[in-house]
């Protein structure tokens, strides 16, 4: 189901290739009514469609909250499940893993799930039919077209597959699902209990904007809403509470959602896991977007912002993609409003890809206790960012800058020495760079406003075409460390090592 607001009409279509074939309008009372193709009012929609439910606020926030939760229940009831009889599907191969156990590699993605034992006709040697008992143990373990199963004859004896053409596989009865959609009109909804999405229900505000104002209880997204064949979207929710997501729900997309409760767009506090969905134009607050101890931000985060600190993998780890995230305003060389201690700060491993993101102080692999292997492109932050007090920094930093002074950045104050790692910095600028650090990292065209005080290039380390700032005070080189074509505070070219 797709929908749009077009020339003042709310239109839907069932499939991407279909025409926009149904329209709705609002009457003088603000109620939604169905229209014909010419836009004429042809009657009330009575709050439901064939597989959608429309919720509109009619009373107090608490009364609306009741309607919203009831609407979710109705939408779940409108998910269409059709039983599909088993069929014989072509297989690429069978791989034996035990006397009666096999991994099946089908020609295309399989549609069935883990099921209890069933009886079927099978041709183990590709020629001779016999009755067998099959139990599907795993589905999708090695790809969407793979499954593991046990197979025996009717007396429980093992069956050897092979000796002829690869036999077709008799699939179990499966279920074909058509998700439903819950459409919510703008308004205030105070929900007395959590809004738990654990089914294939698309949830969207009527306008697509964050104007479904939810308060009192939380929204929880659970694994039943995650389906590779039917990716689900959550659009336009605006929570003063939290929106928590279970681990590894990669087929869910969140758009234009706002949740200001703690750990929103992340695992519920005290839990661990991985936030791997897609997030577009969403706003969170403290420890949002895959943050929290034991949590990894592994999803795709695009134009998302945080209104408080420790976001985007803060206190945890990162491995995902972050584009235009942060939420800061950058004007006339200064940043305001960016979340501090974010983008893998104060956590463990900082991997992934950061593109045009903006943080405040202590951001971007600052004070993390694990390894850093991320790439940072065109990112901005403030003091003590970009590998500050890092222990194992092999990140790559391209065209990044620290503003608002920007002291102690780019490998400064490496903890316990950082001589084995091999970070790379290209075209980066800050007030102070690599302060008090002996590094094997390499710097190319990096420029400090003030100094590289206490910096020493050691084995494999290099500063090439860099300026050491107006104060200077960089150290010398040790081992095979080198300075090449660098400029010191008195405008002398430095070549050492």
């Amino acid at each position: 189901m797709a929908f749009r607001i077009y020339k003042g009409k709310f239109q839907t279509k069932a499939n991407p290739g279909d025409d926009w074939n149904m329209s709705y309008m609002f009457d003088a009372e603000g109620d939604m009514r169905k229209t014909d193709a010419a836009g004429n009012d042809i009657g009330s929609i009575s709050g439901t469609g064939s597989n959608s439910v429309y919720v509109t606020p009619t009373g107090t926030a608490a009364q609306n909250g009741v309607l919203l939760l009831a609407g979710l229940t109705d939408a779940i009831a409108k998910i269409v499940n059709t039983s599909v009889p088993g069929s014989n599907i072509p297989m690429n191969m069978y791989e034996q893993s035990g006397p009666s156990s096999y991994t099946g590699y089908a020609v295309s993605a399989v549609q069935f799930s883990v099921v209890p034992q069933y009886q079927a006709t099978f041709l183990p040697d590709g020629f001779t039919p016999m009755q067998v008992l099959i139990t599907i143990n795993w589905v999708g373990a090695y790809g969407p077209d793979t499954f593991e199963f046990d197979i025996t004859d009717l007396s429980g004896g093992p069956i050897m597959i092979g000796g002829g053409p690869t036999p077709l596989f008799p699939t179990p009865t499966s279920t074909l699902t058509v998700p439903s959609t819950l459409i919510i009109a703008p308004g205030d909804y105070s929900i007395a209990s959590d809004f738990i999405l654990n089914n294939l229900v698309n949830v969207t505000s009527l306008t697509g904007q964050a104007d479904v104002n939810i308060s009192t209880s939380n929204v929880k997204i659970q694994s039943g809403a995650n389906n590779s064949s039917h990716p689900i979207s959550v659009v336009g929710l605006n929570l003063t509470t939290s929106l928590w997501i279970e681990s590894n729900l990669s087929y869910l997309t969140f758009k234009n959602c706002k949740a200001l409760g703690t750990n929103s767009f992340s695992i519920e506090p005290s839990g661990t896991g991985s936030i791997s969905g897609t997030f577009e134009d969403c706003t969170g607050d403290f420890r949002s977007f895959g943050s929290g101890v034991g949590v990894t931000a592994s999803g795709l985060f695009i134009r998302c912002k945080a209104t408080s600190s420790a976001a985007f993998g803060g206190k945890g780890s990162t491995s995902g993609y972050f584009e235009h995230c942060g939420g800061a305003v950058y004007a006339q060389g200064y940043l305001t409003g960016a979340p501090s201690a974010s983008f893998g700060s104060d956590g463990v491993t900082v991997n992934g890809y950061f593109y045009y993101c903006i943080g405040s102080g202590s951001s971007f692999a600052s004070q993390n206790t694990g390894a850093t292997g991320a790439e940072f492109h065109y990112c901005k932050a403030m003091n003590q960012s970009f590998g500050y007090r890092n222990t194992n920094n092999s990140g790559k930093y391209y065209n990044c800058s620290a503003t608002n002074a920007g002291n102690q950045c780019f490998g400064s104050n490496a903890l316990s020495g950082d001589t084995a790692a091999n970070a790379r910095y290209y075209n980066c600028t800050a007030n102070t760079i690599a302060q008090n650090s002996t590094l094997s990292s390499q710097f190319y065209n990096c420029h400090a406003g003030l100094h590289w005080n206490g910096y020493i290039a050691t084995n494999g380390g290099l500063a090439y075409n860099c300026s050491f700032g107006s104060v200077g005070n960089q150290g010398g080189v040790t081992g095979t460390g080198k300075y090449r074509n660098c400029l010191d505070s008195s405008f002398e070219i430095i070549n050492e090592g």
Partner: protein, 110 residues
């Protein structure tokens, strides 16, 4: 439900466990300015959220990982792995494998 991660191509799989921080540990975790010793202690605290997978789990995770790489023509030796994250729930697996390739960031979902 059980979660696993592998953050570098040469690192081992890690099982995630829920660990309840004490008040003292929470204070340390939330502290803004940490000494070097405290930062190292943080590293130890983070490890309390991790354990080793069983041999059987490790075999399964390796098989899933290698199968994903094979299917996408990605070399096990050359991959610039950013993170492999797998959840096992009710005998079904789901997760993502994040990597940086020649064309930038890439995510494989399953």
């Amino acid at each position: 439900m059980k979660d696993f991660k592998k953050m570098h191509k040469n690192s081992e799989w890690v099982a995630l466990v829920n660990y309840q921080l004490s008040d003292t540990e929470k204070q340390l975790m939330d502290k803004d300015e940490k000494t070097d010793a405290e930062l190292l202690l943080m590293g130890e605290l983070h490890k309390k959220f991790e354990s080793q997978p069983s041999t059987k789990e490790k075999e399964l995770l390796d098989k899933v990982y290698e199968s994903l790489l094979d299917r996408n023509d990605i070399s096990k030796e050359d991959i610039n792995l950013q993170g492999a994250h797998i959840t096992i729930e009710n005998n079904k697996l789901r997760g993502v494998l994040n990597l940086i390739g020649d064309d930038g960031f890439q995510q494989l979902s399953f």
